[in-house]
Symmetry: C2
Subunit: 427 residues, 2 copies
Amino acid sequence: MKKVGVAILGLGVVGGGTYKILAEHKEFYKSNHNLDITVEGVLEKNRGRAIALGIDESKIAESIAEICSNPEVDIVVEVMGGVEPAKSFVLAALNAGKSVVTSNKELYCKYSHELEKAAKKNHCGLFYEASCVGGVPIIRALTDNLQGNRILSMLGIINGTTNYILTKMSNGGASYGEVLDEAKRLGYAEADPSSDVDGYDAAYKLSILSSLAFHTKVPYTEIYREGISEISPLDIAYGKQLGYVLKLLAIGKNTAKGIEVRVHPAFIKAEHPLASVNDSFNAVYLTGDSVEDVMLYGRGAGAKPTGSAIVGDIIYCATHSNFVYSPFENTEKAAPSTKFIKNFESAYYLRIVAADKAGVLSKVTSVFGKLGISMSQIIQEKENSDGAVPLVVITHETYESNINKAVAEINSAAEIAKVAAVIRVVT
Amino acid sequence: MKKVGVAILGLGVVGGGTYKILAEHKEFYKSNHNLDITVEGVLEKNRGRAIALGIDESKIAESIAEICSNPEVDIVVEVMGGVEPAKSFVLAALNAGKSVVTSNKELYCKYSHELEKAAKKNHCGLFYEASCVGGVPIIRALTDNLQGNRILSMLGIINGTTNYILTKMSNGGASYGEVLDEAKRLGYAEADPSSDVDGYDAAYKLSILSSLAFHTKVPYTEIYREGISEISPLDIAYGKQLGYVLKLLAIGKNTAKGIEVRVHPAFIKAEHPLASVNDSFNAVYLTGDSVEDVMLYGRGAGAKPTGSAIVGDIIYCATHSNFVYSPFENTEKAAPSTKFIKNFESAYYLRIVAADKAGVLSKVTSVFGKLGISMSQIIQEKENSDGAVPLVVITHETYESNINKAVAEINSAAEIAKVAAVIRVVT
C-alpha cells in the first residue's frame, strides 16, 4: 500500500468536491489502486468551510510555506482559480518538490510555460486535466490517444454557463437578460458573469486545447472572442426554422494556410452531434487525419465532475513516474513560424430589417453579387405590424472581411435596410 | 531524437492502416514528438500485401523468431486477430523484451492475465487501446481519467457492423437478410458475419471494458449474449412509433447486488445521446459516481481510426516508462467475491399476434397482473388483412424471469395469442 499525501489549495466548489470524493472513496482507492490517499493539509482563509467539510483543524495550514514544508504532502491540488496568488503557490509547491494537479484554466493558459519549466526542473508531475471541460477526458485524449494525428479541426461547447443560457433561450424564447438572471439565482452563473458570457473562460480552454491539438503554443491573445450578450431569441427562432441550433462554439482549425482559433456564437446544423449537447453539458468534437471524427461529451463543470478529473490526475500521478510531457515547445508566445488566420472563412446568418420589401431584396442581392457572396437559404416574411420587413439570409462560405463589407454597404442605405444581426454558421 | 523500431504482425486492414499512418507521419513525429519511428519488420504470409504498401522486401520477416531477435525492434504491433498464433507471437515478443501494442480484442479478452504477467516479468509495456472501439479513446479514459470513480453503468454501441445494419433497417425498412447482404457487398460485414451479428465481438470488448470499469475481472463467459439476426423491421417501426430506436447494446452495471453484463438488441429512447449514433459510428456512455455522465463517440473500426489508436499507444510507449497498470487483479476467472446478476431487471417490448381482439388484451392483462408486470405503453392495431391483431406492449421494469414466465403463459393459449417478439428496453 502506497501512502499518498495531498494538500488542497482552496475549498470552493471544486476544492470541496475533490475533498468529498477523496474522503468517500478512501477504502475504494486502497482496495482498487493500492493507494492510501490522505488529505494532509488545506489552505483556505474561510476556516468554516474546512470545518463544515469535516476537516480536522490541525490540517488547516496558515500559509503555503507550511504546505510546502510538510513532508507528508506529496501532491498539491490547486483549485483556487485566478492568476495570483495561485501562480506563486503552484511555483512554490513545485520548487519544494511537490507534484501539482490544477483545475485553473486561466493560470495554465497564461503561464503553462513557466509552470512546466519549474516542474521539469524539480522532476515533479504537473497535471491539468481538470482545467478544461470538467469531467470530460479531453486533455489526455489529446496527449495520450490522438497524438499520432494531425488534428484538422476542433469544435467545442466548453462553457457550461453559456450553454445553459442558450439552451433555455432556445427552448423557452426568453430573452438573454431574463435567462441570465434566472441562471444567477440557480447558481449556474456568477454574480459577475463576464468571464463566462463574454467568452474568456472558453478562450482560455481553447488556448490550452488547441496548443495540444496543433502541437504549437496558441496564446489566448490570438483567439478571436465574442460573447453571447447580443443574442436575441428572434434569431434563435429563425435559425431553428432553417434547421440550425445556436451555440457558443470554440473553434480551432489547422490548415495549410495556418491556425484559426475563435470563440463566438454560431449556428450549427440540428443533426450535428454538438447540436443536442444541452444545458450545462459540454462536448468537444475533433477531426483528426487518421482517427476521423471523435466526440467527447460530459459535464463541463461542477464540484464532483471536475473533482473526478482532479482525482484522476492524483491517482495517475501516484501510480506513474512523475512526468510532464508536452507535444510542443511550451513557450510564452507562439513560435515565429506559426501563422494565425484572422480573416477566416465562414457561412453567415444575416437578419435584415427593411422598410420596403421589393427594394431590400434587390439591394441585398446586388451587394452580395458584387462581393461574390452567394446565398444558400432565405426567409422573407410578410410585413410586421410596425411596417418592417424581416429578411433572413444564410450565405455560403465567404471571408469575414467580405461579410463586414456587405453589412457596411447594406447599412449605408439605412433608409432601405439595416442589418440587425450577423451570426456565423458552421457548415 | 529517439529512434523507435516497430514490427507489425499482420498486414490486414488495421496493420496496413497502421503502416500507412506511420509512413505518412514520419516527419511529423520527428518534429512534434522527437521520435524517429521506423517499421523495422513485418510478419505477413502474403508478401504481395507488404510490397503493395511499399515495404522493402528486406523488412519482411520469415518468422516471429526473426522479429524477436532483431535488436532494431523495440515495439511489436500485433494486429493479426484471433487467439493463435497471435498469443504465442505476443508472448514471444514480450519474453524477448519487446513492448507490445495490440488491437486483438479476442486475445486480450481471453488471455490478458497471461499477457500482463509476461509483460510485468519482462518489464515491457503492454498496450491495447485499439482492442476496443477503434479510435474512441475509451481504455485510457477508464484507466487514467475516470479511475477515481465507482463506474455505475456503461452503455455501449461497440460493434460497427451491427450498428450499420440496424441503422439501415431503421431508415429503409429492409429486412435483416437484405441489409446483411448489402453490408457484405460493401465490405462492412465479413463473409462469415457471426462474430459481429451474434454479439461475440461486442462481448469481448465489454469484457475488457467492464473489467477496467468495475475493477474486477469480468470474463466474457459471464456475459449474456444475443445477436441481431432475429430482428424484424416491423418491430423497429413499432418502436419508432413509441419513441425508441433499436441498437445492439453492450450493457454493464455495477450495483450493490452485483455486476450485470449483457449484449443484446435493445430499444433506447430517441432522445438518448446513443440513439443518434448511426452507421458504423460507435459510442460508450458511462455513468460514474463523481463524473456523472460521459459519452465517448467515434469510429469504432476501420484502417485509420483503429490505426490511430495503435499509433497513439506506440507514441505513449516510446515517451513513457514501460508500464502495465491494472486497476484490478487480472486473473483468468472472476474473483470469488464477485457476484454476477443473471436474472436482471429491464423494461420489455412485446409484440403479440392474436386472432381475437377482445380476448387477447384480457388474457395479456390477466397474465401480467398475476406476475406483477405493469404496462407503460400499448399500441393495439386494427385487424390485419390476414385476420391477425397485432398488440404491442412496453412494460415497466421487471425481472427477466418474470417476462419469460409471462411469455410462456401467453403462448400456452396459442389459439388466442402468440408472442412474436420480445425486445429489452433501456429506460
